[in-house]
């Protein structure tokens, strides 16, 4: 149900309410409400506040500023490059340095700070895309494909399925960087989080709710919705939508096919295989523990590269929509 920090009597990303929780980032499978005390970055706390209401006992942990947890343990939150506010947590105890990465990526993201490579003794890494088939292409290429598909289908709109926290804002920011300055239309579930990103200093341009816009006006538009709404009743209001999905899983054709996606966009907020292995090499820990995802392959890579490693069977972290 998470990782327990025994000497400080605290949990990292617990899946149930506990007395004291350290939360790496705001995604629902890592951040849950109802903890006695929640220690997280200001942005993550803001995200949790939107989702669960403002909780008592929130402790802000600014990046790179150590927090004493008691029991001789110090926690330092470091940028993880996953989504706005996401952090790795460096734990120091009796001269040992342990890093729990939470979710992370290494490729550039306009909406959050980049992953900080930090030396440690024990590195506890995620492995969502821990198979060598996963290589995420540069995001600019995928955005270019999206814009090309839009231009080739002037009668239709492009409907992009993207996770409401992080992925959606990253896609919008990249569209803006690619010169797309038309309005971007949003599913209702996206609006709050986009406003929060803007309030946290991430400009996203002209955003409008898709609801209530006449069908004809949406021809040639880009609409963003949560993956679950792609083939749902909601999308019937749109003019013959070309369904796209922004996800690392889209690298595998059959995954795209299973979701009924016409335009798979390989855009992920997680490290791909090369990023995972590069990160382990750069951090160069004495030992690596591998948590949620495809642990076996990364474990094998560690073995092939004479690195001490073990897999932790953590359940409850689901990234099917990433």
């Amino acid at each position: 149900m998470g990782i327990r920090v025994v000497p400080a009597d605290a949990w990292i990303d617990p899946s149930r309410a506990v007395a004291r929780a350290l939360v790496t980032h705001g995604h629902a499978d890592h951040a849950r409400g109802g903890h006695g005390q929640t220690i997280a970055t200001p942005a993550t706390l803001a995200i949790m506040g939107v989702r669960y209401g403002v909780a008592d006992g929130a402790v802000q942990a600014c990046y790179h500023a150590p927090v004493a947890l008691g029991g001789g343990v110090t926690a330092t939150f470091l940028p993880a490059g996953h989504v706005l506010g996401s952090a790795q947590i460096l734990l120091e105890y009796a001269g040992e340095r342990v890093i729990v990465t939470g979710d992370y990526k290494r490729s550039p993201d306009l909406t959050c700070l980049p992953f900080a490579v930090t030396p440690c003794d024990l590195f506890i890494t995620e492995a969502t895309f821990g198979l060598p088939v996963f290589r995420h292409p540069p995001i600019a290429d995928e955005i270019a494909r999206l814009l090309a598909a839009r231009a080739a289908n002037p009668e239709r709109c492009v409907l992009v399925g993207a996770y409401a926290l992080g992925k959606a804002q990253r896609v919008i920011a990249e569209l803006r960087a690619a010169g797309w300055d038309e309005p971007v239309y949003l599913h209702g579930a996206m609006e709050t989080m986009c406003r929060l990103y803007e309030a946290q200093g991430v400009p996203l341009g002209d955003l409008r709710p898709a609801a209530g816009v006449p069908k004809a006006e949406l021809a040639g538009a880009i609409v963003i919705c949560p993956p679950s709404a792609l083939n749902d009743r909601w999308s019937r209001r749109l003019p013959d939508p070309l369904t796209a999905m922004a996800s690392g899983w889209m690298r595998v054709r059959q995954r795209a096919r299973q979701r009924g996606v016409e335009l798979p966009l390989v855009i992920s907020d997680h490290a791909d295989w090369d990023e995972l292995t590069t990160t382990i090499t750069e951090v160069n820990p004495a030992e690596t523990w591998i948590t949620h995802g495809r642990e076996e392959a990364l474990l094998r890579w560690c073995e092939l590269h004479q690195r001490r490693a073990r897999a932790l069977a953590l359940t409850g972290y689901e990234d099917e929509d990433d």
Binding site: L131, P132, V252, Q254, E296, R300
Partner: protein
């Protein structure tokens, strides 16, 4: 090659039939010869390079990727070609010049040997991107498996050039890739290819399942649906060929049949082996199992010919002498067929008798009684029906007998391939070899991977993941708590299986969450159904 790769990706991601047709038609119109012909061959399963096998790809990968990482990746992706395309190391420096064309690939692969094929394939893969590599491997190994039937490809061809699909079917079988004469005909540059010079296959007329249609025996005639192999015999210019369903020639496997039609004709019938099962008495047909022993043999020994002699039960005549009868109503063709019978060797041919029944209720009763005769069911043919390629609404129906049912216990599961690549969707199930409360064990009796809905598939996938007790490579052993009601057409004795029985056409009929595993059926129940 890039165009073909784009076509394959488009076909994979396009769900609607019309969308697929449009993609293929656009490709065929816009792509030059011979590439479009080779693509058409790939879509219709007509590409074969004997020097390239799935094993060639696997051994190329074994030289480049750690075997454990390969196995984990292959298991996740669910498709060897796609896994290889994703894991292929990008060459350094990046290759110069254009990607190879399909024509260039064909030229290179068709002169390749087993020894030279791996290096050749590797050099081609180096010149392509991920999508191109996927398309090349699919193309070179001849197994696209992208859910496109040969028929759909022919319909797309007809659509591309605005020609009737029946004519495409008619001229198709005399041609071989890259089909230059077909394109010349379809684009209006040349007259159609001749079909009367060789013993060519004509597409079979097929039947729709009879579901809710109300029909009368005044309009339809009933025949048994025999459980053998549908075949076509064609004699032209002194040569006879025997073809099976897909137009594959099987003359060499059944020389006694090929040698028994000495005059020009085109006959449609069911290939069977002599035995006492189908038809009841000696001189009838043996079960499908007996026929299977003879399938796929390239040469046939005298002993086999004597032990399991084949014959054809005739359904129809398409061409008699030089006369094409296909436009004529079934009744006329039937009369011509009956008139032909005296000229045929009765050891090798008999006539598929029509069933006399006053009405559909009486026919239903006769059909229900046909269980032991290992007959698949009943065919209903409109008396006025011409002989047309494929399934045409309202002309022919198949009315299968109700399936047999047993309750089995889920034992093992494996991930599927294709669009089920991440789901545990291939199930092995078993029956008890005695009283489960007295320590009996489950023995596997069959495997099935369909019969359930997409929603049930998700549920089953979760059940397998949550109830796994052991893993053997990609196979998960479950806790044997879930009961399936399995439907199947028949069951045969089998020495290959520990349980001693083999089911024909098993599918998951129902998931019996309500039924405890120890109440599932015992082997003796299945053994009693053996035909």
């Amino acid at each position: 090659m890039q165009r073909f790769a784009t076509l394959l990706d488009g076909l994979l991601l396009t769900l609607s039939r019309n969308g697929k047709l449009a993609l293929i038609a656009d490709y065929l119109r816009e792509t030059p010869d011979p590439d479009r012909g080779w693509a058409l061959a790939a879509l219709t399963g007509a590409v074969d390079f004997p020097a390239v096998k799935a094993g060639t790809v696997r051994s190329l990968m074994a030289e480049r990727v750690d075997p454990v990482l390969w196995a984990l990746s292959r298991d996740f992706v669910g498709d060897t070609a796609e896994t290889a395309s994703l894991l292929w190391p990008e060459p350094e420096p990046a290759p110069q010049g254009a990607a190879p064309t399909l024509g260039e690939i064909v030229t290179a692969l068709s002169i390749a040997t087993r020894a030279s094929a791996p290096a050749l394939l590797a050099s081609l893969l180096d010149r392509l991107d991920t999508a191109g590599r996927y398309a090349l491997i699919k193309f070179a190994t001849g197994a696209l498996r992208i859910g496109i039937s040969a028929r759909l490809a022919k319909v797309a061809f007809a659509q591309a050039f605005a020609v009737p699909v029946d004519e495409v079917e008619e001229y198709w079988y005399g041609q071989s890739p890259p089909y230059a004469p077909l394109f010349l005909w379809a684009t209006g540059a040349c007259p159609p290819p001749r079909t009367d010079l060789l013993p060519l296959f004509r597409s079979f007329m097929l039947a729709h399942p009879l579901e809710n249609e109300v029909i009368s025996l005044d309009d339809y005639v009933a025949e048994w649906k025999w459980d053998g192999i549908r075949v076509q015999l064609v004699h032209v210019n002194g040569e006879t060929r025997v073809y099976s369903r897909g137009g594959d020639e099987i003359s060499a496997s059944f020389p006694e049949i090929a040698g028994a039609l000495p005059f020009p004709a085109l006959l449609d019938g069911e290939l069977l082996v002599r035995g006492d099962q189908q038809g009841g008495e000696a001189g009838g047909a043996a079960s499908f199992n007996a026929l299977q022993q003879r399938l796929g043999r390239k040469t046939v020994s005298k002993a086999v010919l004597a032990e399991a002699p084949a014959f054809v039960r005739l359904y129809d005549v398409l061409i008699d002498g030089g006369e094409d009868l296909r436009e004529q109503p079934w009744t006329s063709r039937r009369a011509r067929l009956e008139a032909l019978m005296p000229r045929l060797d009765p050891k090798r041919f008999d006539l598929s008798e029509t069933i006399a029944a006053a009405n559909m209720e009486a026919l239903a009763e006769i059909r229900a009684g046909a269980r032991n005769a290992a007959i698949e069911g009943v065919m209903l043919k409109h008396r006025a029906s011409p002989y047309v390629a494929g399934r045409r609404a309202g002309l022919w129906y198949k009315w299968k007998r109700a399936p047999l049912l047993v309750d089995c216990v889920l034992m093992y599961a494996q991930r599927g391939s294709g669009k089920r690549s991440s789901f545990y969707s291939d199930f092995t199930f078993g029956c008890w070899d005695g009283d489960p409360d007295a320590g009996a064990e489950l023995l596997p009796v069959g495997k099935a991977y369909f019969g359930f809905t997409d929603k049930e598939l998700k549920w089953l996938d979760r059940h397998v993941r949550q109830n796994t007790v052991a893993k053997f490579g990609p196979v998960r052993e479950t806790d044997k708590s879930l009961v399936f009601e399995v439907a199947f057409d028949s069951v045969h004795a089998s020495k290959r299986h520990k349980s001693g029985v083999a089911m024909r056409f098993p599918r998951i009929n129902r998931i019996r969450q309500d039924k405890p595993a120890h109440e599932a059926d015992r082997l003796e129940t299945l053994r009693a159904m053996v035909t």
